[in-house]
Amino acid sequence: MPAHVTKKRNKYLTAGLIMTGTAVLLGILAFFWTPWSTTAMSASERFAAPSFRHLFGTDNFGRDIFSRVMKGMGTSVMISALVVLLSASVGIFLGALTGYFGGVLDEIVMRVTDAVNGFPSILLALVVISVLGTGRQNLILSLGIVFSPSYIRIVRSEYLRLRDADYIKRARLMGVGKGRILFVHILPNILPVFWVSVMIGLNNAILAESGMSYLGIGVQPPDASLGNMLSDAQGYLQTAPWYALAPGLAIVWIVLGFSLFSEGIRRLGE
């Protein structure tokens, strides 16, 4: 049995690492170099089928789809990382305070997160974008708001669990400062749980970002993003099916990579 588990764990981790690695590397590379320009148009090469010249073919403006998918992956990963960074920071800060101290603040924060949770996430993001307007910062901000409550809840429940642990009680008796207890004594102990939720959060953020761009309220053209490419491509399903396939499969690739990777890490921890 143990040998079997080890083998399996490696498989998850390797597959996840390879998939995530290629996506992230290609995405980062796209900010410096792509085989073709991501925006340059060419009237003579509209709707070219995949070939060695254009790996994934070209779109309705004759732009190279492979280059645009590369750039789109980079954009998606970058935005998702920032969203998770933002919401996880908010989660740690508010979750620690409410979980450790409780009281009125806890009650208020919990009611607000209840309300946000009761709201379908895409709808909330839609409303926030309507208020703030489109744009990258606003996209990150709105998704950050959407994702924060789940982090607050996770961190809060961990703090609630640990606040009466023996070693914390002892630290309190010894007169250790509150800030120190919160972020030096307790924080490191919740990290294992926290990392798993960060990985899941990354996945959800990528799905949410591409969903928003698909609906036309995320990344704006002519900038490439996997979601807005898909929505453009939908009109050409009959003439150029590869146009929809490329960005769609790229999303699947990234999300699958992340989930295999986090599954691998989870099993490593067991």
Binding site: A43, T134, G135, Q220, P222, G235, T239
Partner: protein, 506 residues
């Protein structure tokens, strides 16, 4: 326990089924052969012909309502509810004689009383609220006898007659009746479902002998521009007037529909706010016009079906149109554009945000091409999509923008497109100001001789082009798909879907 669980789940599902199934009706009869379905893109804003403002609504209401006069497929006015009309020498008195055989859909004959009521309603004489702004010039509507109505206006305007296309409705119906729209058109109203569409049926009493041919016409809102193609192929819709270039290509291969390109009545432009730096500098505006490649835009976005324009006039208004494409050329002139930018002090270019109403795929795609073209001369442009609503309030009315891509829909009057560029015009959303222009426009308006008037209009177009007031791009082509089982569809130079002449092929 498992059983309990299952039954609970089942109960929940059943509850959902009951909740949603209660409105399930018996269903309408299946399609008959003498009906047609027209795909439309937007929902209807009002069924009241005097309150409807969206072009997408007016094109449908054209089938239900008629004015004293109406447009024909050549853009000329023909008498409709009126049998004939005369205008006095001084242009102040209009006399309309009504037809004998015009009936409303409710079976009542149209009387002078109905005409008076309708005109007073649209002109604001009824309650102080003019519904058609051009007709607010009406001073009085008098019934001379039961078939003759005389309209007196405050000032002469040779283009006013076009506004008498305003619908004639039964006297008093605006306030009381209101259960369903009643007009005199070839089709009468059956039902309307928000977000799905509107159903019309044949008006058997229509005054034009033999028309219409179809028993029923449905205007159905398509799922999206993307699925429209598949709806056409499956026969879910028969006529669709807004094909994109690639959809047209696909459809032509199938041989099930004819695809016809016809010029629209929309002037598409990259509108430049003349009051905002750096676009307040004529050199910068000229540079932008040189940088834009109109041929490329037409090719990418319209499949080459548009007509390129250099100023604010539809080429179809041939008497008044002057071709000004040569002023800045139809292809990009990067050298000249860079030169002008350097002269204006922007040798390194500048940032430009272009606001575009995001519901218009056509304008959005045009924006993508223009951003790329401006990049070549060093202008760093970006697209900011705005909702149609925001566009109207912030950009069109608020004038709070730098540049925007949109289209102006022009009714038949040539003055309509030029009127808005007067300094004081409330519709002058590009903040254009040129004393000479204002002066010539006033002269044109006062002129009664049509030929001289056209001369002034041409002069106005030239001034706009010289000042690079705005980057006029093209009059996009409309690509309409018509099912092979239908015939007789007529193309209008204005935005209407006339279904009265459409019939099923024998």
């Amino acid at each position: 326990m498992k059983k309990k669980l299952c039954s609970l789940l089942l109960a929940a599902l059943l509850a959902m089924a009951v909740l949603s199934g209660c409105t399930d009706g018996t269903g309408e009869s299946s399609e008959n052969n003498f009906s047609a379905v027209v795909g439309i893109q937007q929902d209807i804003d009002s069924l009241d012909p005097h309150l409807a403002t969206a072009a997408g609504t007016k094109e449908i209401l054209f089938n239900i309502f008629e004015g004293l006069v109406k447009s024909d497929e050549n853009g000329n006015l023909i008498d409709a509810v009126a049998e004939s009309h005369t205008v006095s020498q001084d242009g102040l008195v209009y006399t309309f004689t009504l037809r004998d055989n015009v009936k409303f859909h409710n079976g009542n004959a149209v009387t002078a009383e109905d005409v008076k009521y309708s005109l007073e309603r649209v002109s604001g004489l009824l309650d102080g609220t003019p519904l058609v702004s051009a007709l607010s010039t009406i001073k009085s509507v008098d019934i001379l006898d039961e078939k003759t109505v005389q309209v007196t206006v405050e000032s002469p305007n040779t283009e006013l007659i076009y506004s008498f296309t305003a619908a004639i409705i039964p006297s008093g119906s605006g306030e009381e009746e209101g259960t369903s729209p009643v007009g005199t058109g070839p089709f009468s109203f059956v039902s309307y479902t928000p977000q799905e569409g509107i159903v019309l049926k044949k008006n058997p009493d229509y005054w034009q002998e033999g028309l219409p041919y179809l028993d029923q016409v449905t205007f159905r809102i398509v799922g999206s521009a993307e699925t429209a193609l598949m709806e056409l192929q499956s026969g879910a819709i028969d006529i669709y007037p807004y094909l994109t270039d690639s959809q047209a290509q696909t459809l032509k291969e199938g041989n099930t529909h004819q695809v016809v390109a016809s010029p629209s009545n929309v002037v598409q432009a990259l509108f430049l706010n003349n009051a905002v730096a750096p676009l307040d500098n004529v050199l910068v505006r000229q540079a932008i016009l040189y940088a834009i490649d109109k041929e490329e835009i037409n090719e990418y976005v319209g499949g080459g079906t548009g007509s390129l324009i250099g100023s604010a006039m539809l080429p179809s208004l041939a008497d008044n149109y002057v071709d000004l494409n040569s002023v800045y050329g139809t292809k990009a002139n990067v050298e000249k554009a860079k030169e002008l930018l350097a002269e204006a002090g922007y040798a390194d270019g500048f940032d430009l945000v272009i606001d575009i109403p995001s519901n218009y795929e056509f304008h959005m795609q045009t924006g993508e091409v223009i951003v790329e073209q401006l990049k070549a001369v060093g202008i760093n442009a970006s697209i900011n999509p705005v909702e149609w609503d925001t566009w109207l309030s912030d950009i069109y009315n608020g004038r709070n923008y730098t540049a925007t891509i949109s289209g102006i829909t022009c009714d038949q009057t040539p003055g309509y497109l030029l009127n808005r560029f007067q300094t004081q015009s409330s519709k002058n959303f590009i903040n254009y100001s040129n004393a000479e222009y204002d002066e010539v426009y006033l002269k044109a308006q006062a002129e009664q001789d049509m030929e001289k008037k056209a001369g002034y209009y041409k002069q106005l177009q030239q001034i706009l082009a010289d000042d690079a007031a705005t980057a006029f791009l093209q009059v996009p082509g409309n690509m309409t798909a018509i099912s092979n089982r239908l015939e007789g569809y007529k193309f209008y130079p204005i935005y209407v879907q006339d279904m009265s002449t459409v019939s099923v092929k024998k």
